[in-house]
């Protein structure tokens, strides 16, 4: 299952970053595919990006909401939130585990041999603050003299934007180097911080900071496709706790908003068929890892 998941992550990485003509054009992709939403966090200013980032686009719509209303166009983010909601209601945080390029980046870093640490659960709540304040409230409320807000999350926080767009665009367009300042240094610092943290802990950005993961997490309990727990079959052996990359106890909190639905618990840990996948209430065939081991 892990191999299939890695392939899925790689394919999504290439799908949402499918423009490889940027070294020739010296610019980012500007074609019509960019009206399609990237399900995972993927900066649309990345020169290879072929889709738009829902978090970036939502902020851009909200920060200019006064202008759009004044001009009689009610751009309030319905298209973007609608798309995010369709994805979330269908798959919840399966996107985080299977289709997010920045999630893959963190997972690869975590493979670097080192001492590994937990992330205190209290930090998990931070991502909701980033979603509410940095993505919605601050771009809407804090405006300049012209009534224009800022994309707070992208501008001050998002390490995915720095990795996928900030660094490549500076390499691609030398003129930009003259404009680098403290903001760029700050963002590089955050990227370094999250990268180092990813070596030491599993998916720290997804668990503490990602507003898209926070949004999708709201659907984990009710999404169309989700992990199902058969409480009668569960023996509380704890095997699923040991393999979980986000340190949740799925047999105690099924549908947890922290679960990235990587399915390691289902495919690698549970020997009692207590965990399975379901679609809208209909169970799919569960895969018990090693019935043979149980009988041994």
């Amino acid at each position: 299952m892990e191999i299939i998941r890695k392939w899925s992550q790689a394919i999504w990485l290439l799908l949402v970053n499918g423009f490889w003509g940027f070294p020739v054009t010296g610019n980012l992709y500007q074609g019509p595919l960019k009206v399609i939403c990237s399900p995972g966090l993927n900066c649309y200013s990345c020169p290879a990006a072929t889709t738009y980032c829902p978090i970036g686009s939502l902020q851009q719509l909200l920060l200019g909401i006064r202008f759009s209303i004044e001009s009689g166009r009610y751009y309030m983010g319905a298209f973007v939130v609608g798309t995010m909601g369709i994805i979330g209601a269908t798959a919840g945080r399966f996107i985080c585990g299977w289709a997010c390029p920045f999630g893959l980046y963190q997972e690869l870093l975590h493979r670097i041999p080192s001492r590994k640490f937990s992330i205190p659960p209290i930090l998990n709540g931070l991502k909701y603050l980033f979603l509410v304040f940095f993505v919605i409230v601050l771009p809407l409320v804090l405006v300049d003299d012209f009534g224009l807000g800022k994309p707070w999350f992208c501008k001050y926080v998002c390490p995915a934007g720095t990795l996928e767009a900030g660094i490549p665009m500076v390499l691609l367009q030398p003129d930009l180097r003259t404009t680098l300042g403290w903001l760029y240094v700050n963002k590089i610092g955050l990227l370094v911080l999250f990268s180092a943290w990813s070596v030491l802990a599993s998916r720290p950005f997804c668990r503490t900071t990602c507003p898209l993961g926070a949004f999708y997490g709201l659907f984990n309990r009710v999404s169309l496709v989700k992990i199902r727990l058969d409480r009668d079959a569960c023996t509380s052996c704890g095997a699923c706790h040991a393999v979980c990359p986000v340190e949740i106890r799925i047999n105690e909190t099924p549908g947890s908003s922290e679960c990235i639905n990587c399915l390691r618990c289902l495919s690698e840990a549970c020997r009692f068929d207590a965990l399975s996948l379901e679609v809208a209430g209909f169970p799919l065939r569960s895969r018990s890892v090693s019935k043979a081991n149980v009988s041994n």
């Binding site: 610019n27 980012l28 500007q30 960019k34 009206v35 900066c43 649309y44 200013s45 990006a49 889709t51 738009y52 980032c53 970036g56 686009s57 851009q60 719509l61 759009s68 166009r73 009610y74 751009y75 309030m76 983010g77 319905a78 298209f79 973007v80 939130v81 609608g82 798309t83 995010m84 909601g85 369709i86 979330g88 209601a89 800022k150 994309p151 992208c154 501008k155 998002c158 934007g161 720095t162 767009a165 900030g166 665009m169 500076v170 930009l176 404009t179 680098l180 300042g181 903001l183 760029y184 700050n186 963002k187 590089i188 659907f219 009710v222 999404s223 169309l224 809208a280 209430g281 209909f282």
Partner: protein, 50 residues
């Protein structure tokens, strides 16, 4: 198979319908054009430049 396993969960379908409605509203308002316009240009502030 247990009886409960066969019953369809309506919540995700209702949510899907609501978000499809929201999505269609956005399309009706012309938001895709604005999103495309934004996504085609480099947001320098977004990537920490400028």
């Amino acid at each position: 198979m247990k009886r409960g396993e066969r019953s369809i969960r309506r919540t995700p379908l209702v949510l899907l319908a609501l978000f499809v409605l929201l999505w269609l509203t956005g399309i009706n308002l012309g938001e895709p054009g604005r999103v495309l316009e934004q996504a085609k240009s480099i947001c320098l502030a977004c990537i920490g430049i400028g």
